[in-house]
């Protein structure tokens, strides 16, 4: 066996305050990676996975520093390396593929100068050979018309093309190790599949080792052989891919796997209670880091920190690693009873066309048609029904949602609420009752909740606006609503900034609910959340739907979420409905080519 490519020993990264002990953001990381091996690092946001990835290149962002531990690449101590040697290594033998290639490419430089730069720094090629080598690299990442691409600026490429350029740039130094930081997170599912295929090819052909960071275990298992699970800055489990997914030994891994909605089973995923501890708030040096959220916790978990327990093909940081493996109580979420359809139609949309185009004078004279963003849309939502609207970016799903909300004027067609209200007016011109009966929940609660208002003020506003009432009545209603969305009543005096992402989204939902709507429009409301939180929001939505017979229009790019949640589904592509029907029917036997390719792209 040859010497390992990369090893870390008790690597800890953190920050030092003036007064207190140093605070570890990631602690005691032990990793070994051999040549050609592929390792996936999985964890939820804030678990320190990106910090770890940068630390493996001996790089810390401002404010962070190495608190201890060793880091070796090909037997050489990277901590002791000079800046010059590190520069040779970075982008050369070890190269990073960034999360957001659109922002990681310098906007003022052409693609060619950025690739040439990598070649100048990390290859022995003379200047004359740069161009042909760059074209080779771009062909390697399957970018069409590479000669033309070289002349472009980053913003002139699509997201998928930018990511391919970033990969090509990383390959310029013929690296032994590729480090990937969620390289497909911003991409559409079908593009993601292509990029992942490409990465697999590269690894297979060149025997490049790879460390792939992602929150998405599906993506990881598509490209990696080994998986490491991170939680609150620690590696809690490590193992071969199949074994870890089939037999997770750490309670966190089990919870994480259970919270992922799956396409082939229409059950609601199980969320995890509580939230990940933030670095510095509590000292976990003599406790299990998962203590608070663990269903199997025993006194010993509080008294001593578990070491890495080695099981065959797997290692786990849990006192009861072996038992939990046996214990695993195949937590199954409740099977969702999908209602058969209630009589009353809440929203009826027919022949809807929307255009952002203001037709120019010439076109109006010539009688040309405007460019339609969405066209010939027809669907209906009944009381107590959830309609999933799926499609990739640019498919027109947000436009459709905006039009129903009255934020965008339709060009033609009709939208009718409760069989009597005409919705073809902008929201300001609709009847007050109409406004009240349709409520909107946005994707990002950070942006949709006013940070300078308390939760109380945020919830009181719509009540006062639509119904009025005495202060005490409003106050009582707020209490009830907080309880309905599973938040402590004491939260009413807090500001949004003091809440976690999932809690903020609950407030956003509560704000919609206090208006007593018939229809709630949800725009990707779980996309910004971690999977375990997403699962609990989904559960909440279903409960609220059952309690109030709400109709919900649920826009999402995530087919698995829609599968678990929705009754009906509408598949949009390029502004047209490609397929629609009951979720089970559409997803189990898709008829349209596009639906098939979408479903095939789900990992």
């Amino acid at each position: 066996m040859s010497s390992p490519l990369l090893t870390t020993e008790d690597l800890s990264i953190g920050y030092v305050n003036d007064q207190a002990e140093p605070v570890a953001v990631i602690s005691s990381i032990n990793l070994t990676l051999g040549r050609g091996e592929t390792l996936g690092l999985v964890g939820e946001s804030g678990c320190g996975k990106s910090t770890l990835l940068l630390a493996l290149m001996a790089y810390q962002k401002a404010g962070l520093q190495r608190l201890g531990g060793r880091l070796e690449f090909l037997g050489e101590d990277m901590v002791a390396m000079s800046a010059r040697d590190l520069q040779k290594l970075r982008g050369g033998q070890m190269a990073l593929i960034p999360q957001n290639a659109g922002q990681a490419l310098t906007p003022t430089m052409r693609i060619e100068s950025q690739i040439f730069e990598a070649l100048r720094l990390h290859s022995n090629l003379g200047m004359a050979a740069w161009r042909s080598r760059s074209i080779e690299l771009l062909e390697r990442v399957q970018l069409a018309r590479p000669g033309e691409m070289l002349k472009r600026y980053p913003h002139e490429l699509s997201g998928g093309q930018q990511q391919r350029v970033a990969i090509a740039m990383a390959l310029a130094g013929e690296p032994d190790l590729l480090l990937l930081d969620e390289p497909t997170t911003g991409l559409d599912v079908t593009t993601q599949v292509h990029v992942l295929d490409l990465l697999r090819d590269i690894v297979a052909e060149t025997q490049t080792a790879m460390i792939y960071v992602s929150h998405d275990i599906g993506v990881i298992s598509a490209v990696c052989e080994k998986i490491a699970i991170m939680y609150a800055g620690e590696l809690v489990e490590l193992g071969e891919k199949q074994q870890l997914i089939n037999q997770p030994a750490h309670p966190y891994t089990q919870g994480l796997l259970d919270s992922i909605p799956k396409l082939h089973q229409s059950r609601l995923p199980v969320g995890m209670e509580g939230r990940q501890p933030q670095p510095g708030l509590r000292d976990f040096s003599s406790q299990c880091v998962f203590l608070d959220r663990c269903g199997h916790a025993q006194p010993i978990c509080e008294q001593s920190k578990p070491g890495l327990l080695k099981l065959p093909g797997q290692a786990v940081k849990c006192h009861f690693g072996e038992q939990t493996l046996a214990l695993k109580d195949l937590a199954t979420g409740s099977q969702v009873a999908k209602p058969e359809g209630f009589s009353k139609v809440v929203l009826q949309v027919s022949d809807l066309c929307v255009s952002y185009d203001r037709p120019s004078l010439k076109r109006r004279i010539m009688g040309d048609k405007a460019d339609l963003t969405v066209q010939d849309i027809a669907f209906e939502i009944r009381q107590g029904e959830i309609l999933g609207l799926v499609g990739e970016s640019g498919s027109g799903k947000s436009t459709l949602l905006k039009t129903v909300a009255g934020l965008q004027q339709p060009l033609s067609g009709s939208m009718v609420l409760n069989e009597k209200f005409d919705l073809s007016y902008a929201v300001g011109k609709r009847a007050p009752e109409c406004q009240q009966r349709i409520q909107l929940v946005f994707q990002n609660p950070d942006a949709s909740l006013n940070p300078s208002h308390t939760i109380e003020e945020i919830l009181a506003r719509p009540i006062a606006l639509y119904f009025g009432g005495s202060e005490s009545a409003i106050s009582e209603e707020i209490d009830q609503m907080l309880e309905r969305v599973n938040l402590p009543v004491a939260y009413r005096h807090r500001y949004p900034g003091q809440l976690s992402g999932g809690e903020k989204q609950r407030i956003a939902i509560a704000r919609a609910l206090v208006a007593k709507p018939d229809l709630i429009l949800c725009d990707e409301i779980t996309s910004a959340l971690d999977v375990s939180v997403q699962a609990s929001i989904m559960k909440l939505l279903l409960r609220l739907r059952d309690e109030s017979q709400l109709a919900i229009l649920f826009v999402s790019h995530d087919l698995a979420v829609v599968n678990a949640l929705a009754d009906q589904v509408v598949v949009l592509q390029q502004g047209r409905i490609r397929e629609s029907g009951r979720v089970y029917d559409v997803f189990s036997s898709p008829e349209h080519e596009y639906t098939q390719s979408l479903l095939a792209s789900v990992l």
Partner: protein, 318 residues
Amino acid sequence: MLQLIARRFVFALVTLWAVSVVVFTAVELLPGDACQAFLGQMAQGQRLDNCRSRYQLDQPAQVRYLKWAKGLLAGDLGQSIKRDKPLKEIIGPRFRNTVILGLSAALLGIPMAILLGAIAALYRDQRVDIWISGIAIFCMTVPEFITGTLLISFFAVWLGWLPGIVIMRADAPLLEVLSNIVLPVITLTLVMVAHIMRMVRTSMINVLASEFVLMGNLKGLPRWQLVLRHALPNALLPAINLIALNIAWLMGGVLVVEVVFNYPGIGRLSVNAISDRDFALVQAIALLMASIYIGLNLIADLISLLLNPRLRNQQGAG
């Protein structure tokens, strides 16, 4: 791209025309006319009428505006009644002096400001940055007539190295002008550098925190290449328009500085023109200043078009 530039040019021309109308009307609205101002106490009866008909002030305003505008297009600024000379002769050499002063300050100040701003950002919150930023804030807050006076008392009165006041004719040869402008240029530069440097620093700090700079680091780029090729061009984009505004502001600062140092430029001339109630001269100077403002902004727009590939290929839309 060409369409975009053409559009900017048209905008500039329209603005210039609007300014000429405003300037003309503003002077029209002032009580009295040039002849009354010129004749003063004797402005009455036949004498006033004679003067008015001689300078064609008895014609309606629109006609006079058209005449004036036609003259401007042909490069003729008009005639000063008070000074009894073509305005071109009065303004010409003084304008040259002001341009020399402003240009020297800009050529010295802008590169220095960019350099200092970049350094301050690179060593953010360290001693170098604290000193640079501290001095900059001091320079920004002290008005230039105080800076100028302090400089005079230090270099001229106390050390005796440089002349305290400029004593020269407006049409002095270039070499003599240059030897006289050291202190005025320093005064102007101090404030300007401070403003631009703060802007460059902020913008550079943002850019240094961006993902493409992180990427450059992890690509193994040596630090100075990273700063010069990747960070600085992007940091300068938002600073360009501010720099243009600063140069335009310089024209205002020039006014104060010229008075403090007794420098024969357009600033001092405008102060004199106003106190003399030389309407034609005021009008001409106002228009000149406005053209400089508009011209600089146009240049700044064009430079940011040139440096920012994202703006460049918008097809003149929006």
